[in-house]
Amino acid sequence: MLMKRQIPLLIVIVVGLITLFGHFIANEGVQNFVDNDSTQWYDIIASFAIFLGGLNLLKLQLLKIYKKQKNWQYSILAVVGFFFAITVGFFFRGANTISVTGINAEKVEQAAEMIAEETGESTSSILSSISDPSADYELQKIYKTHGGAEDFSQKLEAYGETQIEPIEWGAHLSATRGETGSLFNWMFVYIFTPLSATMFALLAFFVASASYRAFRIRNFEATLLLVAGIILMLGRVPIGEYIPAWLIGVFFVMGLGALLAPFIKNRKITLGIVAIGSLIFLIIGFTNGWNPAIPGFFHLPVMQEWIFQVPTTAGARAIMIGIGLGIVGTSFRIIIGIERSFLGEQ
């Protein structure tokens, strides 16, 4: 019990209190811990939490394959993907660079031509980079294998002294030269990027289909939501500028009529209000040569701006303060040891 519940609880309380009140304790050791080490420890432990996630996923997928559960064949792909990332991350950098020094000044152009053919750059840009032929020049290409680098470096030997250098561990993650990069970078660009980007882009279709099928004006609240959404959608993009304000005015009058209809018994009065209102906006439009920006308040970009800065801000601020109060309350309960749900079951 002590080890499983009391000690974790003690850690939470001590760490929470030190984080919150550490600045008020006039002790250099405590100050230093609060400013530096405590956050570093957090970062380190958080990294281990990520490793745990990775290992856990591997365990689940391997179990799925072992037990031949439904769709187990696909799990092989997940496992292969995982090990590919681990391999290019920890064991095989696939990142070798070639640098050349002491290029014979007379042969600089020939060397540059040869390098240009290899890296796909223009000869002139290479020549401008090699301002001093005797100095070190690094090729704008990363070779995935040492052998590949060696092949070209041997050809280049004719012009100067070459050296093959692997990119340092750690820096290899995002290393690029020109159009090429390390194997880890290759994985990021050609596997991780299309997958994660398309997963998110896919939602565009579902948002559209949901707007068609699910957003119904059932009551006043839903109407507000939809109208605000539509005005924002059109007002935020350049096309909003060209939707005439007088037309929006006419729509507004019609909407007003629909809202007032239940309260006014005589239909003719409602109809009259709508007709006169629409006429006013049409006259405004006509007298201003159908200028889309007049009357100003019904111009979509202007309406959008007001909705964004006033009622949306008010609503968003209420939400922010509400959530803030909730988080501050929960944090307080955690720090004083009342909230223990993170400890789980007994």
Binding site: F83, V189, Y190, P194, I307, G315, M320, L343
Partner: protein
């Protein structure tokens, strides 16, 4: 010339189309891409988190470069002896002569190392509870940080900002008043949502209207964001359909449509047979 980059381009187009094929229906292409995504991302995260924090800031503090450390004592020699054993297997992670970066050995960093290992023990059922110690550190610190952060930025500063500047124009005063009404009534709705009668009920109803406009704006922005992402993806596909990429998009699209068509036809005839049986 066929290089790994050219292969990469084709593979990227294939993966993109495989995910998009979900729009037709759930199918083997989509599933394959989904599982690759899961596996690769888990590995990707593990690798990046290791190289950006654990190696430089944990191992780097436990075994800093010997150039800056006085290694005369026998204890330090043993300590680096352990390091060298690791180094035999993983020269990249434990380079010869210590990790350059931090100036001195910080033995206190054995504590986060142990807590980190405890975290991994979650995978061993009998000692999985040790992970709570590590989790407790995370939870405690997050609570401490958030208490101050949210109190200051999300509550105090927001309340301070919700004032009307009476020296401004009548429009700005009116807008300021609307913001105050909206914020207060919105909060009323949150905290007295049960009492929907009387004055409080009416006021919280006004609060709902403001919240609805806010949600409407969020909805508009959500649509905007998704469309932008779709534009980005289509842009890439258009780029890869050019002659410089050997019309990769067109080729792969055609192949996938044929395969998916055959797959759908087969599935249909299979389910048809089941019905007749």
């Amino acid at each position: 010339m066929f290089t790994i980059e050219v292969f990469g381009t084709w593979f990227a187009v294939f993966l993109t189309l495989a995910i998009f094929s979900y729009l037709y229906d759930d199918n083997p292409f989509y599933k394959a891409a989904e599982y690759i995504f899961v596996g690769v991302s888990a590995g990707y995260w593990t690798v990046t988190f290791f190289w950006t924090q654990v190696q430089p800031n944990l191992f780097g503090r436990l075994w800093p470069s010997l150039e800056t450390v006085n290694a005369d004592s026998i204890f330090i020699k043993i300590w680096y002896g352990i390091y060298n054993i690791f180094g035999i297997f993983l020269t990249g992670i434990f380079p010869k002569g210590g990790i350059v970066g931090h100036p001195e050995i910080r033995f206190i960093y054995i504590i986060p190392l142990i807590l980190g290992i405890f975290m991994l023990l979650r995978l061993v059922p009998s000692v999985g509870w040790l992970a709570r110690w590590a989790l407790a550190y995370i939870v405690g610190m997050a609570a401490g940080l958030r208490f101050y952060g949210f109190l200051n930025s999300d509550i105090m500063n927001q309340i301070k900002a919700t004032v009307v500047d009476f020296s401004g124009s009548w429009v700005s005063i009116l807008n300021g008043v609307i913001i105050i009404i909206g914020t207060l009534t919105g909060l009323l709705y949150f905290f007295f949502s049960r009492e929907q009668t009387g004055v409080l009920g009416k006021l919280s109803k006004v609060g709902i209207y403001f919240l609805m406009i806010s949600f409407g704006a969020s909805f508009g922005f959500a649509v905007m964001g998704r469309i932008s992402l779709l534009i980005g993806r289509f842009n890439d596909l258009i780029e890869f359909s050019s002659s410089s990429h050997n019309y990769a998009t067109f080729w792969l699209l055609a192949i996938m449509i044929i395969v998916l068509g055959a797959w759908a036809f087969q599935k249909k005839s299979e389910s048809g047979e089941e019905v007749t049986n």
